[in-house]
């Protein structure tokens, strides 16, 4: 008997999501922030896939998850390039130092 249902997946997704958000919020390292973003995306992805498995969403959920994965890879590449540039300009990777645009 399967006692595992949609809710379980949603809970795991939620945990991943919140971990990602918190990671984004408290990490000073730019790459740490980036990892937070990846976690958030994965939490969302997990939801998509679970919905596609357990509800009528079907193929759409998987396709969306696929797109998210692909775009996340793209985003990671760009973000890392930005981080490298940032490091080249500031000699640090601390995002708190990136406050030149403050009011």
């Amino acid at each position: 008997m399967d006692t595992v249902g949609l809710e379980n997946f949603l809970i795991v997704g939620g945990i991943l999501f919140v971990c990602g958000v918190v990671c984004m919020a408290i990490k000073r390292n730019a790459i740490g922030v980036l990892m937070g973003v990846e976690l958030v995306l994965n939490g969302a992805n997990l939801n998509f896939v679970a919905f596609s498995r357990y509800t009528k969403l079907g193929l759409d959920g998987q396709v969306l998850a696929l797109f998210v994965i692909v775009l996340a890879a793209a985003e990671a590449a760009i973000a890392l390039a930005i981080a490298l540039n940032f490091y080249n300009n500031h000699l640090t990777i601390d995002v708190d130092r990136a406050d030149e645009l403050q009011g």
Partner: protein, 824 residues
């Protein structure tokens, strides 16, 4: 064979027509692609025009191979015409008998073929259409040959004459600027481009098969003439002359346009000849509609409603839509004729529009030779000839008088002119007058005959004068020349040939002698014909024909005796001033030693055309009335016009017929010869003789008023100045004053008001509008300044904001949901 030959002829002549256009296109766009020193453009132009000449010559050869049309119908009408003539002029019955006897002898040239067709339809309005037509008869072909031959010679001559333009830096000594002489890049290529364009236009004019197309090319040659007269556009005199020529021509062309409008509205076609289209539809031509085959105008002679009824090519009446016969009011036909003739007057520099031609001598001499003597100005005569069947007797009388007056006036002015080119220019006007006179008098073939011969000897003389000018380093005043024949013998003697030709001198009695010899020797008939003609250069034959026509006309219409007296006198005057020119220039002693010392013969490039043209000037009319050229022209003569006039008896005028003219030929020739000889001799006495020399200045001081009158060109320029220019100036001055005072005043007032208003406007703008905007911006700026502290620039803080925002929104949302759910 006929249509096929017609096609071949059309193709040949079209090629000859379009070749110069090709040349023009290349020359004007790629003329100095490599260098302004390159003669490439000239070679191209010469190649094109020589190619055109070869095409024309082949066409001429082909055309001569065609059998002539049997003259049955023509004979009949001729007879008929004679009969009518007999009725009107019983006095000359004797002449008819003579004519009858010599019928086959005096009419050696039966009608020749004519062809026509369409290249391209430009516009079509139901059954009316405007198209690019061609019309080929012997006149077309002769004109083509003449134009291309002369143009070829002149192109070659111009290669030498214009060689000074072969430079990057041409200094114009006649234009003075604040920095000395004006200098510009050479325009050698441009000159030849315009020459090519001109040739194209002229050939197109000749080939055109409808009057509208003639008008198009008419304007094109006008434009070319404008460009070429104003070739030295920086010279004030040149640009003025170009403008003058153009404006004078506009006056004539205005008449032409009116004529065109009348024709278009009355006939619905512009086409000359009747022909069957490709779709089998018959397209009636103007000539067939107006006149029947016998040359008669079908008059509807109601009082106050005189009209000409239109017929088709088989003399069947043409019906309008309502079943009545189509007709054209007689007055309109006169208007059309006069209108078209007005165009001819302008183009051929006839009285009263003759003043532009002498000024046109500002152009380079080859231009004068080609455009302003040999071909373009002859276009007027050509058109008059081409349009001849459309002229009613009244119009013809006008033409005759205009021609007569022109020839006399121009000849008298030529006596006192001293500029070598101007003498030739007046001579040209005078000779054109002869041609017009001939056409007006019914001597169609004579007039066009003179057109051809004149073209040869006048272009020859112009080129000679060009050679003189070139040799004397741009000295044009005859009083500074003299004795030049030793320095430039070829020029001098070719010029002499031209002078003799134009004067119409001949050796009397030689014809009889040689004719006898030829008969004795048993030479072929054609040789006998040639030998028994007078030994004279071309001008004699053609002018003789005109004088003979005039004499016959004067005999038929004694009221118009002046039309005989004026040309006769003109012949004497012509001889006088032409020999004056030659003696002045080439004979005697040098008057200006400096000019004489530096004079030199022109290079072979320029003298070779002279020799060729001299040969043609001398011998092109060989055989006179029985000669090749005249026979050719006669083949296309609308001879039935004269007969038709006589038969119709619509007018009190009578036009001479061939045999009548022939009767008077010998007599007239004798008169003309005597008069010319007297003129020549007088000239010799004045300017050539070493002993018994008469002094021209004495004559001049004896009749100062006459001299001044002639030197000021009969004061036509003054007259026009007073009549047109001054009034226009006065009106313009008034307009200017009105403009300055009234309109400018209004404008200035409006401006002042505007300034005052805008001053107030500015105050409003600066204080109220700007104040409002500034206030808004200040407030915005203040708000932004206070809000900017929210923008910390800390990434993680923003994330927190987002999360907290989501939590808050979620919390409120949940709260609200609970509130909603609980009551239910």
């Amino acid at each position: 064979m006929d249509p096929k030959t017609g096609e071949t002829l059309a193709k040949l002549l079209t090629a000859a027509w379009l070749l110069p256009l090709l040349g023009f296109a290349v020359e004007i766009f790629a003329g100095y692609l490599w260098s302004r020193r390159s003669k490439a453009a000239a070679y191209l132009a010469v190649g094109c025009i020589v190619g055109a000449f070869l095409c024309s010559a082949s066409a001429l050869y082909l055309y001569r191979q065609l059998p002539t049309i049997p003259v049955v119908h023509h004979e009949a009408s001729h007879q008929h015409g004679k009969a009518g003539h007999d009725e009107t002029k019983p006095v000359h019955g004797e002449g008819t008998v003579v004519a009858k006897e010599e019928e086959h002898h005096t009419d050696p040239a039966p009608r020749m073929h004519s062809f026509s067709g369409t290249h391209y339809v430009l516009a079509k309005f139901s059954n009316l259409k405007i198209s690019i037509d061609w019309y080929i008869d012997s006149l077309t072909i002769v004109m083509f040959a003449m134009v291309t031959l002369i143009a070829s010679c002149i192109h070659v001559f111009a290669m030498g004459y214009m060689s000074e333009e072969l430079t990057e830096e041409y200094e114009d000594h006649q234009v003075h600027t604040s920095h000395g002489h004006f200098s510009r890049p050479g325009r050698f290529y441009k000159f030849f481009a315009f020459l090519s364009l001109f040739c194209f236009s002229m050939l197109g004019l000749v080939l055109a098969g409808n009057i509208f197309l003639v008008f198009v090319f008419w304007e094109l040659v006008g434009v070319c003439s404008y460009f070429l007269i104003g070739f030295y556009i920086e010279r004030k005199s040149a640009s003025t002359a170009a403008n003058k020529a153009f404006i004078m021509n506009r006056v004539g062309d205005f008449g032409f346009l009116i004529g065109l409008m009348i024709i278009w509205t009355s006939f619905g076609t512009f086409q000359f000849a009747t022909r069957t289209e490709a779709d089998g539809q018959k397209q009636l031509g103007l000539f067939d509609m107006v006149r029947g085959a016998d040359g008669k105008l079908d008059l509807q002679d109601e009082p106050g409603k005189k009209a000409v009824l239109l017929t088709d090519d088989h003399d069947h009446p043409l019906l309008a839509a309502d079943g009545t016969r189509r007709s054209i009011p007689y007055i309109l036909l006169i208007g059309a004729g006069l209108g078209v003739f007005a165009g001819c007057v302008g183009k051929s520099a006839q009285f009263p529009l003759q003043t532009w031609l002498p000024d046109a001598m500002e152009g380079p001499t080859p231009v004068s030779a080609l455009v302003h003597s040999a071909t373009m100005v002859a276009a007027g005569v050509y058109l008059a000839g081409r349009f001849y069947p459309m002229f009613v007797p009244e119009v013809q009388l006008v033409i005759a008088y205009v021609g007569a007056i022109t020839l006399f006036v121009a000849a008298t002015i030529a006596i006192v002119a001293t500029d070598i080119k101007r003498v030739l220019a007046y001579s040209t006007i005078s000779q054109l007058g002869y041609m017009m006179l001939a056409i007006g008098l019914g001597g169609w073939a004579a007039g066009l005959f003179h057109l051809i011969t004149h073209a040869f000897f006048k272009s020859l003389m112009f080129l000679c004068s060009g050679s003189v000018i070139y040799g004397c380093h741009h000295v044009q005043e005859m009083p500074q020349m003299g004795g030049l024949r030793k320095k430039m013998p070829i020029t001098a003697y070719t010029m002499l040939i031209g002078v003799i030709a134009i004067c119409g001198l001949a050796i009397p009695g030689v014809d009889v002698f040689f004719g006898g010899v030829a008969a004795k020797l048993g030479l072929p008939a054609s040789f006998q014909n040639v030998m028994s003609e007078k030994w004279a250069f071309s001008g004699y034959h053609s002018k003789d024909a005109i004088v003979a026509t005039a004499m016959t006309y004067a005999q038929l219409n004694p009221l118009h005796a002046l039309l005989f007296i004026l040309p006769l006198a003109g012949a004497g005057i012509t001889a006088f001033y032409m020999f004056r020119l030659w003696f002045y220039t080439f004979a005697g002693k040098p008057r200006d030693q400096h000019v004489y010392d530096h004079a030199h013969e022109s290079p072979w490039l320029m003298t070779a055309p002279l020799i060729l043209l001299a040969a043609f000037a001398a011998f092109c009319a060989c055989g006179g009335e029985k000669g090749f050229l005249f026979t050719m022209l006669l083949g296309s003569e609308p001879a039935h016009v004269a007969d038709g006039l006589a038969a119709g008896a619509t007018s009190k005028l009578a036009l001479p017929s061939h045999h009548q003219i022939h009767d008077n030929h010998a007599t007239a020739g004798f008169y003309a010869l005597v008069v010319a000889a007297v003129g020549t001799f007088t000239a010799y006495l004045f300017y050539g003789a070493r002993q018994f020399k008469l002094n021209p200045s004495e004559v001049q001081s004896r009749f100062p008023w006459l001299y001044t009158f002639l030197a000021e060109k009969w004061r036509f320029d003054d007259l026009y100045d007073v009549m047109f220019v001054k009034p226009v100036h006065i009106v313009a001055r008034w307009c200017a004053a009105t403009d300055r005072l009234v309109f400018d005043g209004i404008l200035h007032g409006a401006c002042r008001i505007g300034i005052v208003v805008s001053h107030w406007d500015r105050l409003f703008d600066e204080n109220i509008v700007d104040g409002l905007v500034n206030w808004v911006s200040n407030v915005t700026y203040g708000a932004g300044s206070s809000f900017r502290y929210l923008q910390t620039g800390r990434l993680r803080q923003y994330v927190m904001f987002i999360v907290v925002g989501v939590v808050l929104v979620g919390g409120f949302g949940l709260f609200w949901l609970m509130l909603r759910i609980r009551p239910s």
